[in-house]
């Protein structure tokens, strides 16, 4: 790129902005740039809120206080973070292969449906021991999510059908499917929700142990967060330490080279989509078993879509997914009470824009030079 030398004759600005390609970036740079991008995004969002008639500083103060202000609300933030970790990992895994699974929302709903089916059909009776019940629900949730990932994955691998559109369409189909059951066979007294699950289908929560450890009294954090942490560990191992992960990364970086190296792209596409769908399905299971305790239409404030942003902001790194999920869990939590209700969604969009735009700073260096 050229310098800005279109200045009037006679006077020449003594400094010039030079943009040049970076050959290598220091290790701290990506994190610093992402952090800067989020700050810029919050400033832009603040301006928009101000123009929309709101009070940005108060809104932000409120978000911080309502999400991290005390042990009680921080507990709620972690509860929101649990499904986000799983969904964020699901997105990060496929994005690493440059496969765009934006159907995590639908896979989340299918996972919730599958887990509910175990209780509500019922496949297992209510007096099944809790570990067995939870295991069955998790497996059912994972499988239903994986099925929802399999369909677009297969179509992509075999017929080269654009997965962005198919995964998105599958979202709408999944929510209609859940509505069909919630309004129909599983409806409790005509309301749009199922009956409450028996206690054996409830994920253990911290407050269950309040008698032994009084500090836990009132804390609703449930086992889903452990599920998320374990999944993060597994996904990290798969991506960075296993042969399969090496194949995924190679396909993502250079599919032609991967093909020449004899890597089976078709099989990997299907498997990665299934694994990803399964993780999102597990998030759905964790949410209804740990928080809602019944199947209903409104179980997700857009976890599947927030997961996309979480994955991207975490630069597809599983460990970073955990941290970013906690931040965004706070945003979702505070967002429920913030007016107008579109603010969190808009902030998420602006943050995503700033983060991807800031990537250019990792590839180019901007320097101020004396002429």
């Amino acid at each position: 790129m050229a310098t800005n030398d279109t200045v009037a004759k006679g006077f020449r600005f003594p400094y010039a902005l030079r943009v040049e390609r970076r050959l290598g970036a220091p290790k701290w740079l990506p994190a610093a740039v992402s952090f800067g991008a989020v700050i810029v995004a919050l400033i832009i969002g603040g301006i928009v809120i101000q123009l929309g008639g709101g009070q940005p500083l108060k809104s932000y103060q409120f978000i911080v206080k309502a999400a991290f202000g005390s042990m009680g609300v921080f507990n709620d933030t972690l509860v929101k973070a649990a499904p986000l970790i799983l969904v964020g990992l699901a997105c990060a895994l496929t994005f690493r292969m440059r496969l765009w699974n934006i159907g995590a929302e639908g896979q989340f709903y299918m996972g919730a449906w599958g887990a509910s089916a175990v209780v509500l059909f019922p496949i297992l009776s209510a007096d099944t021991p809790r570990p067995l019940m939870l295991l069955a629900m998790a497996v059912a949730g994972f499988l239903c999510g994986a099925l929802w990932g399999f369909i677009p994955g297969y179509l992509k691998a075999r017929l080269n059908v654009n997965e962005v559109v198919t995964t998105l369409m599958m979202n709408y189909i999944a929510t209609s499917w859940v509505l069909f059951w919630v309004f129909g066979a599983w409806s409790e007294g005509g309301f749009q929700m199922s009956r409450v699950f028996p206690k054996s289908a409830w994920m253990p929560r911290l407050l269950d142990y309040a008698r032994q450890i009084p500090f836990f009294r009132g804390l609703t954090l449930h086992g889903g967060i452990l599920l998320g942490l374990v999944a993060a560990l597994i996904v990290w191992f798969v991506i960075y330490r296993s042969k399969w992960g090496y194949e995924i990364r190679l396909i993502g970086d250079n599919p032609r080279a991967a093909n020449y190296a004899g890597i089976n792209i078709v099989r990997n596409t299907v498997l990665v989509m299934m694994f990803s769908g399964g993780l999102a399905g597990l998030a759905g299971m964790s949410e209804i078993s740990g928080v809602v305790h019944r199947l209903q239409s409104a179980i997700s404030p857009g976890y599947g879509f927030t997961g996309i942003i979480v994955a991207w902001l975490a630069k597809l790194n599983p460990a970073a997914v955990v941290l970013v999920s906690i931040l965004f869990g706070g945003l979702l939590l505070a967002g429920r009470e913030i007016q107008p209700s579109g603010v969190p969604r808009m902030l998420q969009g602006i943050i995503l824009f700033c983060v991807i735009a800031s990537d250019v700073l990792l590839r180019y260096r901007v320097r101020l030079e004396r002429r």
């Binding site: 080269n160 654009n162 559109v165 066979a185 579109g342 969190p344 969009g349």
Partner: protein, 322 residues
């Protein structure tokens, strides 16, 4: 009984929404930039069209503001993908989030009812007297439907038969060759992404000012922007095929509403009447989008036709392999 003429007429009307959105996306993608933010841009368009019309009482002004607002949003995508060479998929998703979020923030508490001044409806004298085709295509349609009839051939002619259209295709197929010929790759990509934004805004305005007047937050568009993106692939980037697909989907939307009404269907008890199976009908447009994508991609594989060669790839002058 179901009146097929009415369904097809309504199909043409509501298909116009998909038509504008897909033609806009065709223009952007032909220049090599995929914009997945159509849904968000449409929602912004629908919101501004309704808001401005309620405020001023002038639907034409609403239409103009809607197009410009969506166009401005598309420019955000243009800056990030063209200048910063960011991934077009992710940037398109971000466009979508911003569009949806912004219209929800601004549209909070906006009156739901469509009691505002609407765009005029016309019946074409003479043509409307043709049996079957007259009532479907030329009777009591919003003026925007007729705009759709004119826009489709115009855009086809522009892309395939004019010099600027040739430049557009060159930029999307082989940007470095176009650059060598002195065509401004960045300039044209900006222009066509903006054009796509304008048309997405028009599509949104078509909803809120003509097809189902009013502001119903996210349900105003209900995923039609994504269906439009699917249609573009099915249409193989050809405006005529997009038109056909758009009207079929429009008719389907109307059919779904009608199927839930009558108690008997072809002398049998209507299986779709009960509330619960209605959800299966609501899945239909989305399932059908997947199906037409499958059909479209099979045809594309057989005929070796496909996307513009440089679709999704940022252009950097002097870089190898681009």
């Amino acid at each position: 009984m179901i009146d097929w003429i009415v369904i097809l007429q309504a199909g043409v009307a509501s298909g116009t929404v998909l038509l504008f959105a897909s033609i806009g996306e065709i223009l952007a993608e032909r220049s090599g930039v995929m914009n997945l933010g159509v849904e968000g841009m449409m929602l912004i368009g629908a919101f501004f069209a309704f808001k401005v019309t309620v405020g001023t009482g002038n639907p034409w002004l609403g239409l103009l503001v809607a197009m410009l607002a969506a166009g401005v949003l598309s420019l955000l995508h243009a800056v990030v993908t063209i200048n910063f060479q960011a991934d077009q998929v992710v940037s398109g998703l971000a466009t979508n989030f911003v569009g949806v979020g912004l219209s929800l923030v601004l549209g909070e508490g906006l009156s739901k009812a469509g009691t505002t001044a609407l765009l005029p409806h016309w019946t074409v004298p003479g043509l409307s007297a043709i049996p079957v085709l007259g009532p479907i295509f030329f009777t009591n349609h919003s003026v925007l439907v007729y705009v759709g009839y004119l826009l489709t051939p115009a855009v086809w002619y522009y892309i395939n038969r004019t010099r600027p259209g040739l430049h557009l295709r060159a930029v999307g197929e082989y940007p470095s060759a176009a650059d060598a010929l002195g065509i401004s790759v960045y300039g044209l990509r900006y222009a066509y992404v903006f054009a796509g934004g304008l048309l997405a805004g028009l599509a949104g305005a078509t909803i809120s000012l003509a097809i189902s007047p009013g502001w119903f937050s996210e349900l105003t568009t209900a995923g039609q922007g994504w269906i439009a993106i699917g249609l573009v692939i099915f249409a193989q980037w050809n405006p005529w095929r997009a038109m056909a697909g758009a009207y079929v989907f429009g008719a389907l939307r109307r059919l779904i509403l009608d199927l839930q009404g009558p108690t008997t269907l072809l002398w049998f008890a209507n299986p779709f009447r009960a509330q619960s199976p209605g959800f299966f009908l609501q899945m239909l447009p989305y399932a059908l989008t997947i199906i037409i994508l499958v059909i479209g991609s099979r045809a594309a594989m057989r005929k070796r036709m496909g996307a513009p060669a440089a679709l999704g790839l940022p252009y950097v002058r002097g870089e190898r392999g681009k």
